[in-house]
Structures are given as C-alpha cells and as structure tokens.
Symmetry: C2
C-alpha cells in the first residue's frame, strides 16, 4: 500500500467534525509505535482522534469503502507491535474517548469508553468500595480498550482472572462502520454466540471497541505480603507449584530472578539479601485468613530451601514491595541494553523446567536472559537483553527469544499469556495452533472484515 | 429435507465401526426430543453413538459431503429444543464418550469427554479436594458437553460463574470433519482469537465438542444455609438486591415463590411456614466468615419485612434445603399441567419489577405463572402452567411466555440466562440483538458451516 501524501485535503476532514483529523508529520511520527521492540512501523497517512462512536463509524465506513487499512490505538503501551503504523494507514486513536460513563454500585458494573486508563477506573470504583481486579503492569498508562484488545492480565489474575473475565458487554464498530452491541449488563446471558469474547483479545482485527461494560467485585481486604528468597530459581519455581497445588489462593504470586532484583535495587534500594538466585512475592487479601495463608506459604518455601522469608507486618510495607515488582519493566530498561520481552505461560509444574531452561538458552546463545513474571499463573516474562549495535549478538538474541517460545510450547504452554500476538509473535502462532484452528480464525476474519482493513497482518500469520 | 428411509444400508454403517449406527425406529423415536416443551421434533434418519473423536469426524465428513443435517445430542436434558431431531437428520449422540481422561490435581484442571455427567465429574474431583462449581439443576443427568453447548449455569454461579468461566480448552470437530483444538491448559493464554468461548454456548451449530479441559478450584468449606420467608415477592426481590449491593458474596442465593414452595412441599414436606409469598435460600461457603455473612443476610431480610429467617445449624440441614430447591423442576411437573419455562435474566435491581410483573402477566393472560430461580444472578425461571387440552388457554400461555421475555428485555435483561436459545427462543433473538450483531452471528455461522449441516435452524432466526 502506498503512503498517501499528507495534505490538508484528507477526505476524512470533510466527514469528521473539527479537531479529529491530524496529518502533521510530527504528530504522525509520534504515533507510529507502541512499546514493542523490533517490530516494523510504517508511515501513516493520517491520525484520527475519535471523540465518539460516530467518529469511529464514519472513519471505518470511509476506510472500508476506500480499502485503507486502519490501526486502532489506545495508549500505545502494548508490547507486541499491534498498534504500530502500517504504510498509508489511518491511525485511529481512541485515547480521547476517556469517560467513565457509569458506575453502578448496586449491580457492581461499570460502563466506560475505551480510552479510560485502567488505574483511573480502578481508583474510581474503589471510591465506591468496589474492585476492578485486572492490573497489567502498565495499569497507570494503559487503557481499558487496549486491555480488552489484548485480554490483558496482571498480578491479581492469579486469583481473580484476566480482563476478559470481567468484560460483560461491548459496543463495537464493525469494519463497514455499523455499530454492534455484544453481551449484556446482567450477570448471565446466553442469547446467541459469545461475540464479546471473540472481540476480546482480537487486537483490533475484527472491530473497534467503543464502549466496555465491566463487572466489578466488592473491595477485597487490604492484602498482607510476604517475600521469600531462594538459593536457586528452581527452588522458587517448585515453591509456586507446591503452594498452589495445596489449594491456596493468594491474590498475588510473583517471581523475580536475581538479575532482575539487582536491576530493581539500582533504582529503588529495597535492602534485599545478597546471593539469592530468585525471590517470590506473595499476597493474601483474605482478611483474617491472610496470616494463615502466608504462614502456609512460608512453610512450603522453607521446604524448598528458602533462606529467608519475610512477612510484612503492615499493608503499607507490602505496597512498597509491590511497587518494587512494578518497577521491573523500568529496571530492565535502565540496563541500557536492547530488550526482547517474552510472555510464555506454562503449566505451573513446568515452571521449574522453564526457569532452568532460560539459563541454558542464555548460555547457548551468548546473551543475557533476565526473568520476572506472574509465577502463580505460570506466565513469565523472560527478557533477552543484548547490545543491538552488535549485529551478531542481535541475531543470537532473536534466536534466544524464539527458543524461549519453543520451550514454552514444548512444556505444554502458550507463546503469549497476556501481551498478545500482534506482529512480534505472528510467525509463532502457527506453531501453537493447529491448521483447522488457524483456518477457523482466518475464516472469521474474512467473514467480518472482507476487505481486510482492520489492523491487517496482525495476529494471523 | 425429506426423511430418509431407515434401512440397514445407511452409508454410515460402512464408514463407522460396529455398534455406532442405529436406525431402529424405536431407538430413533426415543431420541427425538430433549426436555423442551412445545418444540417441534422431526424424523431422524439415523442415530450415531460416537465412541471416539474419529467417529464424530467420520460422521461429519460424510454429512457435510452429502448435505445431511446433524443434530448433536448429549443427555437430551436441554430445555430449548436444540437437541430435537430434524427431518432426515443424523442424531449424533456423544453420550458414550463419557470418560474422565485426566484429573490434574496440581494444575487444578480436568480433561473430560463430552458425555461425562456433570455430577460425576464434580464427585470425581471432590475426591481430590477439588471443586467443579457449575451446577445446573440437571447436574445429575446432564453432560459436560451439553453444559458447554448451552454455557449452562446453576446455583453456584452467583459466586463462581457459569460453565464457560471454567472451560479452558476444547477439542472440536468442524463441519467438514477436521479436528481443531482451541484454548489451552494453562491459566492464561491469548494466542489468537478466543475460539473456545465462541464454541461455548453455540448449541452445536458451529462444531461438535469432543473433549473439554476445565479449570477446577480448591474445595470450598461446607456451606452454611439460611432461609427467609417474605410476605410479598417484592420484599424477597428487594432483599436480593440490597444484600448483594452491600458487597456480600454468598455461594447460593435462590428464590421460590409460594406456589412453587407449595408444589415442592407436596413431594417433600419441609414444614415451611404458611401464608408467605416468597422465600429466599442463601448459602455461604466462607468457612469461619459464613455465620457473619448469613447474619448480614438476616439483617437485610428483616429490613425488608421477612417474617421468619432460619439459619440451619449444621451443613446437613442445609443440604436438605438445597435438595428442596433442586426438586422445583419435578414439583412443577407434578402439577399435572403443561409448562412453558422462561429463563430471563435481569439486573438485580429490577428483580422486583420482574416478580411483580409476573403477577400482572398471569392475570392478563388468565394462566398460572410460578417462579423460582437464581435470584442472586437475576436469572429467574418463571413457569407458565396451563391446560394444553384447552386451545384458547394454550394460546394465552404462549402469549404469557412471550410477555415474560418482553418484560425481561424491557428491564434491561436477556431472554435467556442459561438455557440457551435453541428452537424455543429463536424468534426472540432478534428482539434482543441488534441487526449488526445478528449479521455477525450469521457471518460466523456461514463461514464455519457453509453447507449449514450443524444443527441448522437452531439459535439463529
């Protein structure tokens, strides 16, 4: 597709209200990429900042008639390149559709526009004693629309589930500009196919979400927190499987390896002990039952040789530890190296094989592999860190990145637990899915977007 | 479609192993219907009792090539007519694929064939200290495959969610006989579109499920139970909304109106007080916190004029009360009247409008309307009871049945919370869904089943 020249005459200017259409070169340049590394981004023809469902519908109708690709964008905090520009595309930003339309305390639901920041929604419902659990690492910057597009996870998911588990209904603009409602406001409903969960996780390739109805929960008790330090990463991994296998339901169960802890300590000294290969961070929000849940954790951790287990006395101390976990992304970036972030998710009993395998992969390819992740879900984020000025090392880094996905699949897992396929893992989808499943996905894409204008080339190989 | 003659020469006999193909008239007659009333059932050409995925694949391949409709069946306990025979169809029974393939205690998942009875799975995992929550009223007879086909609910859903919330992955035979895997074994995964939840609730119209991977939970504490009796149904309904609106999470919250209680008492005398218009049955499985959760219920119930609130002292007494609730279906059948069972689900704050509206509808149409249901979810089963020998009354009963769905929609609800659309509510799907959503559903159906052999005419109007 050839890039259009960016002139004032973009036809969408005539069709959309003022203040929606931007084609200034600097603005377009600033919107070309999400946070994925090593994904190509093309030259967009125009940026549309939608302020209403009608804006989105108008844009898609025109794009469909003129066969122009559309790349929906939220906060561009995604990690798979699904929001990167394509040559000649319309960048369709939903960021300005950022109103919380309704918080219904009695029904425990909220209705929001897609541009609402995850953390803003969580804080708003907390004021009413309610809880929106999905908490991706990006929660302070990522939007609910983006969370829906990737079915985002986070730390609370080990107990409460992922974004899709909280989405009851959607307003979606179809490829040809028609506006569809899916799902419901009620607790249950089985009227027709579940289009809601077909759209959740479809990364902007089947429709553009313009409204989201989410389920909320009553606020949980303030959690208690414990950390445990292990002499080997394998001991930490075995503790995860052992603890959860006993039927405990912590609200957080996170892993960081030693290089990650050291990287975090560089930006926030937490006084963690030296010489440990890995740590686990666990929370229980079960109120009066929390101390017992953490005591059970300590017991399992010590049985797997934890050298130190610290249970935070007060919730504030726990919050500090959680902040340390949330600094992992920044800490990795502060290493000053290029990064490739994996997102494999494996059965918990195979976490040990995964973390041990990472060491082997790092050695084999001569790159650093750091690791942190949502251990309780088996969802880990191994990070390949390398010098991107070194061509040979860069090639080896990509091989290591691929080797980690291969290992995840070999262990009965998935190539992506929560970041999505986007561009980055597109080549790998065919390794995970069988041919009839790929055929089915393509058949649905072709049926709903026959002109292939919605984020073409993303997700499906 | 013309009914085939039933001779020994049915071509599937040549293609399938022995003991799979049945065309004895009595056998076919016995398999023509599910438990829905007033749904047409046609004359099948043959019954295939599949014993393997390969049997299903062979059957569908032949059916697709020969354009013969296929009606998948489990225990035929459905209430929407989705498993009723079509003229000339192949009845494809999954009942004999009834093995629990795996219970993985550490990962808290089970892998089962579709013919496994819900209650059998629940009991099997309970032996390992695990819990499969979805508990449709039919749990002692209905199959997991059928539960998946309708996204079945039940009593525990108010706290734990419906069938689909526990389905991680499926093996599905597509219309042309190809075998597809969807989803995953892991806690999370976003590799490609969520085909799992597209199939869940699709009532055999998009593929035939041959294996189900379900998530389990650690066993909950044995629940404590309370019942409350109210002078009006409106008081009971207001108690539900008031109690849940305060953030309580009971594991069961069920409603029965007076005629239902009386009908149940006829088959199992529970010594319930006289003169009450409605009752609520509530359970808490929060262990040490359960008494407080029930005390909070009592407080709300009394604030809405509950005349009597009884908290069962021991779990066994609670189990008796639950059995009474489970007798509702039988009790209604013992009335000796024809029944039309609604399945509307409304926002909880509108439960009061729903139960009050039922009285009006009964009066207007000159029929009896009894009501019980999963009040905590807003999912009620109003039952229109009438003399089917009386043509005029029968017509009025159907009008009342429709009026209840219209009321559910008017109150912001859905025509079906857990029973599915099947044949019974097909005319009504277009009242609930907008045109683009119907178009999308049809587009998906056409894409995945271009010859329209899979349970044709069901779900989509």
């Amino acid at each position: 597709m050839q890039a259009m020249t960016t002139t004032d005459a973009h036809p969408l200017r005539e069709l959309l209200p003022e203040g929606r259409v931007f084609d200034d070169v600097d603005v377009l340049e600033a919107h070309r990429r999400d946070r994925a590394t090593f994904c190509p981004s093309g030259t967009p023809s125009v940026l549309v900042r939608a302020r209403s469902t009608e804006d989105v519908a108008t844009t898609l109708r025109w794009a469909n008639e003129n066969r122009v690709p559309v790349v929906p964008q939220g906060a561009r905090s995604g990690l798979s390149g699904a929001a990167n520009a394509l040559d000649g595309c319309i960048l369709l930003s939903l960021e300005k559709m950022d109103r919380i339309l309704e918080i219904d305390v009695e029904e425990q639901i909220a209705v929001v526009q897609p541009g609402v920041i995850n953390g803003v929604l969580a804080a708003a419902v907390a004021e009413h004693g309610l809880f929106y659990p999905p908490d991706p690492g990006s929660r302070d910057i990522s939007t609910i629309g983006g969370n829906v597009a990737t079915n985002a996870g986070g730390m609370c998911c080990v107990k409460y589930g992922v974004t899709g588990d909280f989405v009851r209904g959607l307003e979606v603009v179809l490829a040809d500009g028609r506006v569809m409602r899916t799902g419901r406001r009620t607790a249950k409903g089985v009227a027709g196919y579940d289009l809601t969960h077909l759209i959740v996780g479809s990364e902007g390739t089947l429709g553009v979400v313009t409204e989201v109805t989410v389920a909320l929960r009553p606020a949980a008790a303030r959690p208690l927190t414990a950390v445990a330090f292990f002499p080997t990463v394998a001991d930490a991994a075995r503790t995860v499987a052992g603890y959860l296998g006993k039927g405990h339901r912590p609200s957080v169960l996170e892993f960081m390896d030693r290089p990650t802890v050291l990287a975090v300590q560089k930006i926030a000294d937490l006084g963690f002990p030296d010489g440990m290969a890995g740590m686990l961070l666990v929370q229980s929000d079960r109120g009066e039952a929390a101390p017992a849940e953490l005591a059970a954790f300590e017991e399992v951790a010590r049985s797997f040789d934890a050298a130190e287990v610290i249970v935070a006395d007060d919730p504030a101390e726990g919050e500090l530890l959680m902040q340390a976990r949330r600094l992992v992304g920044d800490a990795h970036e502060h290493l000053g190296l290029a990064l490739l972030v994996d997102d494999v998710c494996v059965p918990r009993r195979h976490l040990v094989d995964l973390v041990e395998g990472l060491g082997r992969i790092a050695d084999q390819h001569g790159v650093r592999v750091l690791c942190a992740g949502h251990a309780g879900d088996g969802n880990m984020h191994p990070v390949v860190a390398f010098d991107s000025d070194d061509e040979a090392e860069t090639a080896r880094a990509h091989q290591a990145f691929d080797a980690i996905m291969a290992l995840g699949l070999e262990l009965g897992g998935t190539i992506t637990g929560e970041h999505g396929v986007g561009h980055l893992k597109r080549r790998w989808l065919g390794e995970e899915l069988d041919e009839p499943a790929l055929w089915t996905q393509r058949a649905i894409k072709n049926a709903l977007d026959p002109n292939n204008i919605l984020n073409p080339g993303r997700v499906l190989p």
